[in-house]
């Protein structure tokens, strides 16, 4: 982002002649704008530092717990979202046209097979993947190709492999089943949606409008970088916050024992762990450690189902995906992933 603050003043200078004719006034206007920005940020810092002294203990315990949980998810996922927005700016504004496309295989299934391994090189976990995938779509990547990447990347990803290995080792084939399962379900979803006759119908109208505007955006790269920064954060942040609030609220309101009463039944345990995965909305980098604490009471198949479903469709992720894909696509994806994970869990339970 240092680049953008460096390139911002030239933006003002270049557009200035057409507006006022005096080159310097554009630059100074930019400086004033940046000054206002610094003042606003400083003021918010002061508010954050001093306002709490007037509001000691204003919330009832449950609401406070829900807010605490939601905020912890937000603080944890915010850096990944910002990283994802930066990556999306890079693919949309800074990588020349054709530079990525040239390296992609031509056959659709091979292209999806390669894209589902992209997560190995871009290890942002699931919340960062959404803005990055939007950048890919704006570049002109196919909808089904992008879906394949979105589903596979949070599972087939070096950090996730390391953390899952640290938690489970190779016991019960959990690590292997998770990786292969994630890879297969991603390609399955990609293949299903590649058969759709009109892929643009899979995207929300709002996202298509954003695409039109972003693609036709001219002007120098600094300006486009800033515009993309503003537009992407606007699309992702409200969804992220609402998703986190939902996750926090559900955790406070639904007693965990209600889910876990069904421990070791082979079929019911898989269903219970999938519901738990959707509800708790954990980041895929750490969900293995969370699942580990259930390993002693739950079947290995249900743990695998938890580890496959969680990164793809949890509450927070659905709110984020809804910014880009229609409700129908989300419902379809959920059905496919749940059925697939259930089958995978059953196979693991039978084999182990």
């Amino acid at each position: 982002m240092a680049t953008s603050s460096r390139t911002a003043p030239p933006t003002g200078r270049r557009s200035a002649p057409s507006r006022s004719g005096a080159p310097r006034s554009g630059a100074s206007r930019t400086l004033v704008a940046l000054g206002v920005g610094v003042v606003v940020v400083t003021a918010l810092f002061l508010v954050d530092a001093y306002a709490p002294t007037f509001f000691a203990q204003p919330l009832p315990t449950r609401a406070q717990d829900g807010l605490t949980l939601a905020l912890s998810v937000l603080i944890e996922s915010l850096p990944f979202v910002i990283l994802g927005v930066l990556l999306s700016i890079i693919v949309q504004v800074w990588v020349p046209p054709g530079a990525i496309e040239r390296w992609m295989p031509r056959a659709p299934w091979a292209r999806r097979a390669v894209l589902s391994l992209l997560g190995m090189f871009i290890p942002v976990c699931e919340c960062g993947n959404v803005p990055f995938a939007r950048g890919l779509l704006m570049r002109g990547f196919g909808v089904s190709d992008t879906l394949t990447f979105l589903v596979a990347a949070p599972i087939v990803n070096p950090i996730v492999i390391i953390s899952t290995h640290a938690a489970f080792g190779f016991s019960d084939g959990i690590l292997v089943a998770r990786l292969i399962g994630g890879y297969l379900v991603a390609n399955l979803i990609g293949w299903l949606y590649s058969r759709h006759p009109d892929p643009d119908k899979l995207l929300t109208e709002r996202f298509l409008e954003t695409c039109e505007i972003v693609v036709q955006e001219r002007g120098d790269r600094g300006r486009r970088t800033l515009a993309q920064f503003v537009v992407e954060l606007r699309s992702v942040m409200p969804a992220l916050i609402i998703g986190s609030l939902l996750a926090g609220a559900v955790q406070v309101l639904v007693p965990r024992s209600a889910l876990l009463a069904i421990g070791s039944d082979p079929a019911l345990s898989i269903a219970a762990m999938m519901v738990l995965a959707i509800v708790v909305s954990l980041c895929s980098n750490v969900d293995a450690f969370f699942a580990l604490s259930f390993a002693s009471t739950f079947t290995p198949g249900s743990i695998v189902a938890f580890l496959v479903v969680g990164p793809i469709i949890d509450l927070k992720m659905m709110a984020l995906l809804r910014t880009t894909f229609t409700t129908r696509v989300l419902a379809g994806m959920t059905v496919v992933v749940v059925l697939f994970a259930f089958a995978l869990g059953t196979v693991v339970n039978l084999l182990v």
Binding site: G142, E212, L226, A227, A247, D287
Partner: protein, 285 residues
């Protein structure tokens, strides 16, 4: 796009990000990051928050509404094809880049500008925006808080936590248990194959009181966190004490020894139970 619309775009995107980044950085400066996330990953959260703040300040240099602007300067002459057309081209694996058409589609822009507010979608988007803003402002105005002890109890599922795999148990058997917290000990208590090894180990542990099960005076409980508060798991140790148990939820420091109770179970025999205020770091990582 109207001025109000542009302002809303800025607030819901850059504005909310800025508030959360400021919260993150303030928590880090005041040393309260461990109330929400594992301090080991604080560098990433704080680093990216600083990046976000730099971007937010820079975004003030972008004129209001410019993000939805086509940039009506045609002097560059190199029009880009609409995303749909490019997607189409890419889907057909036609890598020779055909010269894009200048489909300057103003319809999309006009549609966005004239977006009607009173549709179900518009109302939902508005409500969502208000909710998200309300939550972020609440976060900014209220002090940082830890989870209530009541939630810790309701989260207890009876399954002993096994945080770092069996490493803890192996490590414990090799001798050094001085750095062990309640989470480590509860894993040892649940999974140790030879409990006698631990008989007589001295412990000093801090946690809060929950009602004890079979035979224990009370359980010493603490939330153990791997990454952030939402993955908090309840760890508890049975404590046998000669004094009466303080009330549930009271924070205490217990000094005592680990004893094997003969039937293969372990418990902590407390020499001293001292009531304390909630510590600044209420969770174990």
């Amino acid at each position: 796009m109207s001025r109000t619309g542009s302002l809303a775009t800025r607030w819901l995107g850059v504005g909310l990000t800025t508030c959360l980044s400021i919260t993150t950085i303030t928590l880090w400066i005041t040393g309260r990051m461990s109330l929400y996330i594992n301090p080991d990953s604080a560098w990433f959260a704080v680093g990216m928050s600083i990046v976000a703040l730099i971007g937010a300040v820079a975004s003030f240099a972008l004129p209001l509404g410019a993000e939805a602007d086509h940039g009506h300067d045609h002097e560059h002459g190199h029009a880009t094809a609409a995303a749909g057309a490019r997607r189409e081209a890419f889907a057909h694996a036609d890598h020779a880049h055909r010269d894009p058409l200048d489909e300057h589609d103003h319809a999309a822009h006009d549609h966005l500008a004239a977006r009607p507010r009173l549709t179900p979608g518009g109302i939902a988007a508005f409500t969502g925006g208000v909710l998200a803003s309300g939550a972020v402002i609440a976060v900014l105005l209220t002090p940082a808080a830890s989870l209530s002890t009541g939630l810790a109890v309701s989260r207890d599922v009876g399954a002993p936590p096994l945080f770092a795999g069996s490493d803890v148990v192996t490590l414990a058997a090799s001798g050094d248990t001085s750095k062990f917290g309640i989470g480590d000990w509860s894993a040892v208590f649940a999974h140790a194959t030879n409990p006698e090894t631990f008989d007589g180990k001295p412990v000093t542990l801090t946690g809060f009181i929950t009602p004890g099960g079979d035979g224990a005076t009370f359980d010493l409980t603490r939330l153990v966190i791997t990454h952030c508060v939402i993955d908090a798991q309840t760890a508890r140790l049975p404590i046998a004490a000669s004094v009466d148990a303080p009330s549930t939820g009271q924070w205490v420091t217990v000094t005592g020894t680990v004893r094997s109770s003969g039937d293969g179970k372990l418990e902590v025999r407390a020499d001293q139970v001292a009531s304390i205020d909630e510590p600044a770091d209420p969770y174990e990582y």
